[in-house]
Symmetry: C2
DNA sequence: CGCCGGTTTGAAGAATTTCAAAGGGAGTGG
DNA sequence: CCACTCCCTTTGAAATTCTTCAAACCGGCG
């Protein structure tokens, strides 16, 4: 078991507590997982489409995203990942990566061997339930993104992803009042929302001039949460954040 | 255990064999799950957004789909479900339904109590792995749909969903040569692909006049598979159909 | 100072939606 | 067996949204 400074897995602990009620022995067992920590630089691919990972990747610091390049070279981003997320958990039971994971910012990630996870599940079946649930929430977010891209206006769509990021950052204690980290360029936003960069730019201007948000250097402040939620048609139920019985 | 005619769970057996290698005792344990079979009529909602299901729903016959109604009343369809699918497995660990499940055609579904599944998982941990994997594939399909709606042309998109349906029907033995059941109206297709019915209509005409498909009464024949795949930018890896080690 | 990644702008063009109405086919009731 | 109805498909045309292209701008950093 590697030498580990206190608080390294703080984000994961928070995530666990926000999502499911486990016994403290179970929580401790999770936090005692053997990990290898690595720094990854912004833009680096952490796991690539076609890989057969033997470990899962927990984000400790920074922001990551998952994506795929389609036939004509266009990129589609599926999700953003913040500290406490394990973006490639699906590799536990899907051998081959059907998409890639990359770091959006300089990040710190912890690698957890699949084998350790399997063993943990055997020793603590309810812990398997926690991780399973994490993958199900992942799927729920994908569904919401499908709704977003498929059926909401560009304006709602952008507002929606901002609401989502705010609620998720808040849940891990990374929101300061109504300000969250926002290391997302307009091109990245475009590839996530299925639109062109130019159009994203115009929508962002609209959101700002409507005094709904203020965008700073790598951060974003929500100026009118109720109005933004209304515009976004945002309901946070799909994030399944309440603790489960 | 209810009285059960032979072959009722044939679709599920096929699905199991197509997806993962389990021991025959494990397969038998799955097929011995207590179920209640019900007929549901086309258009009926089987599970509704907001429900807290206590059982999972396995499709025995017919086609189902999952969807959600967004703020302005528009419907977004996330997935189609064919025999052997368990569309609401996520309810095992996500208490509240964040979307709905409905029958597209008259269907026969089997209800499996969550409790029986939990017990099965305890007795046969690898079986839990099978079901977990099913939910992960569900997620993989969502990702592909995000790519589809976000980054592919309307023509590719429609071609893509046809390819997907063909491969999935074939995997459960429900394709006859290159003909598959196709109970999908253009409105349903539109709500799944995030476009208008009118546009779907024009795209379908295009696919037909390019001699890629022929659409019959509730069925569809692929006339030129390689060309359709090419046009769709379709790769079936995201369906994860090969048996896992 | 000059480069660089990211943002912004304008304008033309393409894709897609919307609206409104007609057409078609299969099942149902008379 | 016909007429009718319902649901689905098809059509035309105008309006809108969004993309594309091309270039300017901007702020921080080496």
């Amino acid at each position: 078991m590697p030498n580990r400074p206190d608080g390294l897995l703080e984000a994961l602990r928070r995530r666990i507590e926000g999502v499911v009620q486990l016994g403290s022995d179970e929580v401790e067992a999770i936090l005692a997982l053997p990990i290898v920590v690595r720094q990854v630089r912004a833009g680096t691919e952490i796991v690539r489409e076609g890989d057969h990972p033997t470990q899962a990747c927990l984000i400790l610091e920074g922001v990551g995203f998952r994506f795929k390049i389609v036939g004509d070279g266009a990129r589609q981003i599926f999700s953003y990942h913040i500290p406490g997320d394990i973006p490639d958990l699906q590799s536990l039971y899907l051998e081959r990566m059907d998409h890639s994971l990359a770091a959006l910012t300089n990040s710190k990630v912890a690698y957890i061997p699949h084998r350790s996870l399997y063993q943990l599940f055997e020793a603590h079946p309810r812990v398997a339930g926690f991780f399973w649930r994490e993958t199900l929430i992942d799927g729920a977010v994908f569904r919401e993104w499908i709704s977003n891209i498929g059926r909401r206006s560009a304006l709602s769509r952008i507002a929606h992803v901002i609401c989502e990021l705010y609620v998720r950052f808040r849940a891990i204690g990374a929101a300061v009042e109504l300000t969250i980290p926002f290391p997302v360029t307009q091109t990245v936003l475009a590839d996530a929302q299925g639109m062109s960069t130019v159009h994203v730019n115009r929508i962002m201007q609209e959101l700002r001039s409507a005094k709904l948000i203020r965008v700073g250097r790598k951060e974003l402040t929500i100026l009118d949460w109720p109005a933004l939620v209304e515009l976004a048609d945002f309901q946070d139920d799909y994030l399944h954040l309440r603790p489960a019985a």
